[in-house]
Symmetry: C2
Subunit: 478 residues, 2 copies
């Protein structure tokens, strides 16, 4: 059996919709556009992914909180750039029971304006700083664009937003770097490749000084923004009049940052590692890490196999491995193989009469469909080794695929060719918004921004032919 | 030092507001009435409480899911009794951006009407049953009554709702019993005493055949509903036309149940165990289980004490105990004692120069403020023992206090006297709604319902003097 990625690469959107639905990760038949459901299997996957993110944030001093969904209109309007950008997609609650509300309430599109009035109460002096909080909540955007399951939603159910407060600009800058490091670790643990770009000014978070964004690439050649980090400077603290007392006894506006990740990371995880058989999940987030398929053809064999299966199941469970035995009687082993491949279970253990006789079990890797036999005594070691190899191989395969699709071009014609091949293109750019926007228009693409750790740039701006300051990254994007 | 519950019993509401705020459990100064924030300490308490509930549900075959917040008006209206009851407190989303929505969307007040259209897709045949799902979500009720932090909210942030589907009425009945057992275990683990009552018909969940409810009692003599279990029969499945194929090939409407618990359980936990010093948390849900206070008066002592403290901290941590060392230099030990008592940390470890010399540590129980000294070698054993004793003592003290406040009365005059003393009263009742409603009116109280496992009743209905069928429970309530 060979791995095929034909359908996956040829018709990614169709593949994606089918796989997330058939595998039980996501249910999108809810009667409101852009609003979906996490069924049990998807919910477990979501839980393991979030556990990694929570651990990474908490190790670095972030504490979990929970702020309200509803934001009074007055507060949402305080930061003028912020509301201008979000206004067109706010869901408004205007009625409670049969009464019109005195003031409209927004369903949060993000929580800066819910958190600032409370920071005003919580932060008094420099001794209260720094402060690092995060929450995992639902946010709402009345999208006018076409929605996609897990990717472009009107109710985003899984928005992890962190908010931090600092005494100085330099501290806020260091926090931005820290956030970038945390997100790198997170994506690395999921094997998701990424580029980090400083978004152009016309595309930064509304109210931020600047935005750094993580983009990955899906098989249809469109980039997907999977994480953003904003230095908000004193923009929100000035709008909400939030100051702290310095050691010298002066009042100074606080500096804030915010950074977020949504269920898009799960869309990326699925999209990037999958193949024509369905999901391919990294062992660290797989709801079921090992599925055991008993194989037998008569009652005598059944008894011997079942006994062996129970032993193996017990040993793996005792050692903290998420294992499931598919005991269904009315389904053939072959059908079971397909079923669990669709669900992306990283490792399959087959135990048949021959295995029992030889004291062996058969292992099959989901990512490569490679099959091998090991002695029962070393099974646990072998399973752990396989997990770590799969985890590494998935990451390496994904990065290799990704790197091959980042190319440089020195003129628009070549760039367009690459864009149409589904690649991310870097081109010399003078740095002016005017030229950036024209590039987007001419190539029907999106400017992702510039590398944050970019070296020397040689060449002329592909548009105006002035001296280039940056390589600008462009791509088709979601 | 003695435990005092003077303020706690005399001015419970004032005590409660102060304690949840000062201890960092809950922040209610958000600019929308009845909407609050979980700060870090409260969020950790919430997490540990929910972990118990999740474990109990998952052990009994419930799988976590996540359904949308938004419900189309059409769906909310399908079950007529349901909408009649909830209509007056629905928050309506009517606008998206600058446009009016074509159809109003409700913020879920509970999720039956969001789940039923999906059950229609998920449930095809008897092989799909039973089905047990749960979610922990925010729900919204545009309360017109006065709101109370954690107790009566307009955004309930922590609604655990379970929904189950069955092939027969008998199976649904068995699930109701199972749900009751799960909730009993849950409240027992938190040491919260309760009565289980079958709510009268005029107070059952809208759309249910009947509702069983768990009530506890707060120190101000008002009962608090902390859990409900509903047998929904075929009411919702008929409204949504959800059938399954029986083994005989017939289409039959599914039977459903639902049951819920909210952050009120945390209000009860705090209200029931607390005292004038603040929170008293059971060890199993305390965010910090042991706080270590180093005590020293000069540099030499400091060095010796700090070394000892690090040893003790390490040992407890390695053994999975949530421990925190209060190293603040600008705060006296006495101030630290008050601070951690307010936060309800179950066990305080004091380590001073004398303790170091003698190879001992001093322990102080939060619930009794009892102080004792143990040799360092047995500290871990002693801590574990103390946890189990505290856990048991809190539960027993709470149940004793609760039981003393459940009394019987055979006429309205005596009942009124008991009600005014903050008790729950059981009285003979004919079972007719007419009499029940009059009792509520005459005594300005609430009928909680009748015992689900009630024995023989003797006496005459306190109102109509006909033969009594039940003891009816009445009380002042939240």
């Amino acid at each position: 059996m060979k791995v095929s990625r034909e359908r996956w690469s040829r018709d990614f959107r169709g593949w994606f919709r089918e796989v997330i639905f058939n595998s039980g990760v996501y249910e999108y038949r809810y009667p409101i556009k852009g609003v979906g459901i996490w069924p049990p299997y998807g919910m477990k996957l979501r839980r393991y992914v979030l556990n990694i993110l929570k651990r990474l944030l908490e190790e670095r001093g972030h504490e979990e909180v929970l702020f309200p969904t509803l934001i009074p209109e007055e507060y949402l309007r305080k930061e003028s750039e912020h509301i201008r950008s979000f206004e067109k997609e706010i869901f408004w609650v205007t009625r409670g029971g049969k009464e019109a509300l005195k003031e409209r309430l927004a369903l949060r599109p993000t929580s800066e304006t819910a958190i600032m009035p409370i920071l005003k109460l919580w932060v008094k002096s420099h001794a209260d700083l720094p402060l690092r909080i995060y929450q995992i909540v639902n946010i709402f955007r009345s999208e006018t664009k076409a929605t996609h399951p897990l990717i472009r939603l009107r109710e985003v159910t899984t928005f992890k937003e962190a908010h931090t407060v600092h005494a100085t600009f330099e501290e806020a800058e260091r926090q931005v770097s820290e956030a970038v490091r945390i997100y790198c670790k997170f994506f690395d643990e999921l094997g998701i490749p990424y580029l980090i770009s400083r978004r152009p000014n016309w595309d930064k978070f509304a109210g931020a000084l600047y935005t750094l964004a993580f983009d990955t690439l899906l098989p249809d050649g469109r980039t997907l923004q999977i994480g953003t980090v904003h230095n908000l400077g004193q923009n929100f603290s000035k709008a909400f009049d939030v100051t702290y007392l310095t050691p010298e006894g002066k009042h100074e506006y606080i500096y804030t940052t915010s950074y977020g990740i949504s269920e898009r990371v799960i869309a990326a995880l699925i999209g990037i590692h999958g193949d024509d058989h369905g999901l391919v999940l990294p062992p660290n987030v797989a709801p079921i890490q090992v599925v055991i398929i008993p194989i037998y053809y008569n009652e005598e064999e059944r008894r011997a196999v079942v006994k062996e299966v129970e032993g193996v199941e017990g040993e793996l469970k005792r050692n903290g491995i998420r294992v499931y035995v598919d005991k269904r009687e009315d389904v053939t082993p072959g059908e079971k193989f397909y079923y669990w491949e669709l669900k992306g279970v990283p490792l399959r253990v087959e135990i048949g009469p021959k295995d029992v006789k030889e004291g062996k079990v058969t292992l099959v890797r989901r990512d490569t469909l490679e099959k091998w036999s090991v002695s029962k005594e070393v099974l646990l070691i072998e399973v752990r080794k396989a997990f770590s190899v799969i985890q590494r191989d998935l990451r390496e395969r994904a990065w290799k695929w990704f790197r091959e699709r980042i190319v440089r071009a020195s003129d628009l014609e070549k760039a367009l060719k690459f864009i149409n091949e589904g690649k991310i293109v870097e081109m010399p750019w003078c740095g002016r918004g005017e030229c950036g926007l024209k590039i987007e228009e001419k190539l029907s693409c999106k400017v992702l921004g510039v590398d944050i750790s970019q070296g020397k740039v040689s060449g002329k701006c592909v548009l105006c032919n002035n001296e280039a300051k940056y390589y600008v990254r462009i791509a088709k994007s979601y």
